[in-house]
């Protein structure tokens, strides 16, 4: 058989490049993540779709069903799950027009077009909707959040008893005559017809609606949104925080400094511990965001003397970076140290002091040391060094982002602390107008 005809192509950005923290030259992610975990205990930057969780739970439920009925082996659980993820993605896209929330939407869209509605469902590449669906799909990215939220037991199979009852109450009974063909499709793979009145397609379209019924809002709301089942979390705190998010912020917008400060004030009235954690986040981000912006900037300044770069920054940013409180930052150090090491923490302290006093040359030197300490801990060379006559010797030349200007600096915000994930989940579960 002759080889298939192919066409040259330009490359799209790989979806994996968007997964945060996969580069992280200053190792900031483990630090902000630790601070964020006190206020959002169970969600991640990736696990933000409630219907994604529905799919995860149904996939695990059906895998257990198939094993029980002898239609699959325990080791087939992942394959069953991958097929369920594909079925769910096609149904949600075709029946309800869902786009951005679906992982692998580009492949889903393309396959629906090319296959004229008869889409392949397979546990291997013939059916995958992501370059590696096992790793970058719901199984890889949602399972930990779901387990932390008390939806899944340990192990690769099944759901908790409560979850099972919820699924049967809300979804499984709606399968009606579609249960057998769906189980067959999940067990063996095949084709899903998204054009006609296919019973599997119709039943799932009825289950996976964009809107949530009262029972769903209650179930997902308690576990995913409010983190009631998270072990070791401050009781009710995430629920209180969510209430404040609804009252004080725009759930459709990404978190920013003014919002966080208003949350601190509001939290002080209902939960001092929460207010304290949010205030610590404000102090940390006031430092991490400009430090990251400055580091990205110096990566595009190869060969330039540190003093020249510092002078340019000074005229761009003004006499000092705002909102840097030395005493408050000192209070964060033990927590920072727990998520990094002594060399990184020392460099961060130096950088904080320098930015706070407008010593931009000192800040650049500290950033170079900070990156060097991070890369040393990874067994790699630093991205930038100070070369002869204190010129920047940049080894890794990244894309140069626009340097925020002085007007943007006071509200600069780069890291989500998982709060955006909580906003997204809250938004999905709020009553539809």
């Amino acid at each position: 058989m002759p080889a298939k005809r192919t066409t040259p192509f330009l490359t799209l950005e790989d979806p994996n490049a968007k997964i945060k923290g996969s580069r992280d030259p200053l190792a900031a992610q483990p630090i902000w993540a630790a601070f964020g975990r006190y206020v959002v205990t169970n969600l991640t930057t990736q696990s933000t779709s409630v219907r994604g969780f529905t799919t995860l739970l149904l996939g695990r439920y059906f895998a257990a069903e198939l094993v029980d009925k002898g239609m699959a082996n325990r080791e087939d659980a992942l394959d069953v799950f991958l097929r369920m993820e594909q079925v769910s993605a096609y149904v949600r896209h075709v029946a309800h027009g869902v786009e951005g929330e679906i992982r692998g939407i580009e492949r889903v869209r393309k396959t629906v077009e090319e296959s004229r509605g008869r889409v392949p469902i397979h546990a291997d590449r013939r059916g995958w909707i992501l370059s590696d669906q096992k790793v970058y799909g719901l199984w890889g990215l949602y399972s930990v959040s779901a387990r932390t939220s008390g939806l899944l037991p340990e192990g690769a199979l099944d759901v908790t008893e409560e979850t099972r009852a919820f699924l049967e109450r809300n979804y499984i009974h709606r399968l009606d005559g579609a249960e057998r063909p769906l189980l067959r499709l999940l067990a063996k793979g095949g084709t899903l017809d998204t054009r006609t009145k296919d019973p599997v397609f119709c039943a799932l379209a009825d289950m996976l609606t964009p809107a949530f019924n009262t029972d769903e809002v209650d179930f997902y709301g308690r576990r995913l949104r409010d983190g009631h089942e998270v072990h070791g979390a401050a009781p009710e705190r995430q629920g209180r925080f969510r209430t404040l998010l609804e009252a004080e912020t725009d759930l459709d917008a990404l978190l920013g400094r003014p919002e966080l400060l208003s949350l601190v004030k509001a939290a002080a009235r209902v939960d001092e511990g929460l207010a304290d954690r949010l205030e610590r986040i404000a102090h940390l981000e006031a430092f991490l965001a400009p430090a990251d912006a400055l580091f990205q900037h110096i990566l595009a300044r190869h060969g330039q003397p540190v003093e020249d770069v510092a002078t340019a920054i000074s005229s761009h940013w003004g006499p000092r970076v705002p909102h840097l409180d030395r005493t408050a930052f000192a209070g964060l150090i033990p927590e920072v140290l727990a998520r990094s090491n002594a060399a990184i923490t020392r460099a961060m302290e130096g950088c904080h002091d320098a930015l706070g006093s407008g010593d931009y040359a000192g800040a650049i030197k500290s950033l170079v040391e900070w990156n060097s300490a991070v890369m040393e801990s990874r067994g790699a060379a630093p991205w930038v060094r100070l070369g002869e006559r204190r010129r920047l010797d940049v080894r890794y030349r990244g894309i140069e982002p626009r340097l925020p200007d002085r007007g943007e600096l006071p509200e600069l915000w780069r890291n989500s602390y998982f709060i955006d994930a909580l906003k997204l989940v809250t938004r999905q579960l709020r009553p539809r107008r």
Partner: protein, 423 residues
């Protein structure tokens, strides 16, 4: 042009589709800059579709170590000057062959994957060779982030496909040039195995004609005997009255480089050249090169959605992706639509014969019947550039000269440390 009118795909996904679940026998990658950790953790897993790899690096490496045992040889050739400094070192057992050339740099981005190819009717398993020529280095920026170009072809065993392969001779020349770039004592068993397949298992009949039924045959340029301009001249494109579009991130420091020779070889009706520009409007080309190219061509830009980072709110306002693709497009409406895609920049070393400049590799493919609308990809820039890069960007940016040509290798199975010191 917009993203809807040009083929755009995720590179790793396209490679997965090309492998199509088949078992890998032999693999050869060549690259200019090389990030071993990225290659091991993100590219190698694509070669083993049957495995389910874990997210944690340590576990993933252990699984890959297992997977690599199922492959005969696997090798990566890279330019000695271009080992990524910011990467973790290599940790897995495959051949890493550093190349130092007398002229120019080792610049081709080639992948050669010999895979099992099950015959539809019988049980006999043939092999098939996936040949990819790219602009993407084996780095995270190359495979995940930049706007790059690529083309993948497959050559079947002659018993599975009796059609002659029009680029078979070119491919053998490219393999030979890669072999000659390397010291004699380097283990080139992977490349030898691929060469043997091409020599002994593929249809040997030569394709002498330039085109069949109005479509140009697919070819490979590698500078074996000619510069790119001379090679294109032999295709007799002068009478086709084609437009020329050039997408290249790097240029000579001064002058128009190889562009006039290229224009003389194909006599385009109009030439447009992509102008790499920073977010603040600074042209990433020297003032001298800018002026010289402006005399013979129109500077142009890509429509914003082609290099955009997505449509999400988060992506809005961010820097577009770095354009690292090298594409030479020769086309006219209703006529040929030839794409030269691969590694050669619009620079003198990039277009030279391999013995005079860089070693490069690019596919030439006629896509006139591929169904994509025929129109300009690039849009002319309205305003002349006013500011230019102080130091002209080059492919070598960020690389450090090697002071001592010393290679160290530790074999864990025999506990032997070996070294090689090159003069």
């Amino acid at each position: 042009m917009s993203s809807a009118t040009v083929p755009m795909e995720v590179l790793s996904r396209r490679l997965g589709d090309a492998i199509d679940g088949r078992r890998l026998r032999v693999g050869v990658f060549t690259t200019f800059s090389f990030d071993p950790a990225f290659f091991e953790l993100q590219v190698l897993p694509l070669l083993f579709p049957d495995y389910s790899f874990s997210q944690p690096d340590k576990v993933r490496r252990a699984q890959l170590d297992d997977a690599l045992r199922t492959v005969e040889p696997l090798a990566v050739y890279y330019d000695r000057q271009a080992l990524a400094q910011d990467s973790e070192p290599a940790q897995l057992g495959y051949r890493r062959i550093d190349v130092g050339r007398r002229t120019g740099c080792f610049h081709p981005k080639v992948l050669l994957l010999l895979v099992d190819d099950h015959h539809e009717e019988g049980e006999f398993v043939h092999e098939a060779l996936i040949v990819g020529l790219l602009s993407a280095n084996l780095t995270r920026a190359g495979w995940w982030e930049n706007l790059e170009c690529a083309h993948l072809e497959e050559i079947k065993d002659r018993e599975a496909d009796n059609q002659p392969c029009p680029f078979r001779t070119d491919l053998l020349a490219l393999i030979q040039l890669i072999k000659w770039s390397v010291r004699e004592d380097d283990d080139q068993s992977a490349l030898d195995r691929v060469r043997k397949f091409v020599l002994t298992r593929t249809q040997t009949q030569r394709v002498e004609r330039r085109k069949s039924r109005g479509t140009y045959h697919t070819r490979i340029f590698c500078g074996e005997k000619q510069s790119l301009a001379e090679w294109l001249r032999d295709l007799h494109l002068r009478d086709e009255s084609l437009n020329l579009e050039v997408l290249s991130p790097f240029f000579d420091g001064d002058g128009a480089g190889p562009l006039p020779a290229l224009q003389d070889a194909v006599r385009p009706r109009e030439t447009r050249v992509y102008l790499p520009t920073k977010l603040d409007g600074e042209a990433e080309v020297s003032q001298d090169a800018y002026a010289a190219i402006a005399e013979v061509a129109r500077w142009a830009q890509l429509p914003t959605d082609v290099a955009a980072r997505g449509k999400s709110a988060e992506a809005q306002g961010t820097q577009p992706r770095h354009v690292h693709a090298k594409v030479y497009r020769l086309w006219r409406k209703g006529g040929p639509d030839l794409l030269v895609v691969g590694s050669p920049n619009l620079s003198t070393p990039g277009h030279s014969r391999a013995t005079a400049g860089n070693l490069e590799a690019a596919f030439l493919v006629d896509v006139a019947d591929s169904g994509y609308p025929q129109g300009w990809w690039l849009e002319p820039v309205d305003q002349a550039a006013e500011r230019f890069a102080e130091t002209v960007p080059t492919e070598e940016d960020g690389l450090e000269g090697v002071g001592l040509n010393l290679s160290l290798q530790y074999d864990w199975s025999t506990n032997e440390l070996s070294y090689r010191l090159l003069k």
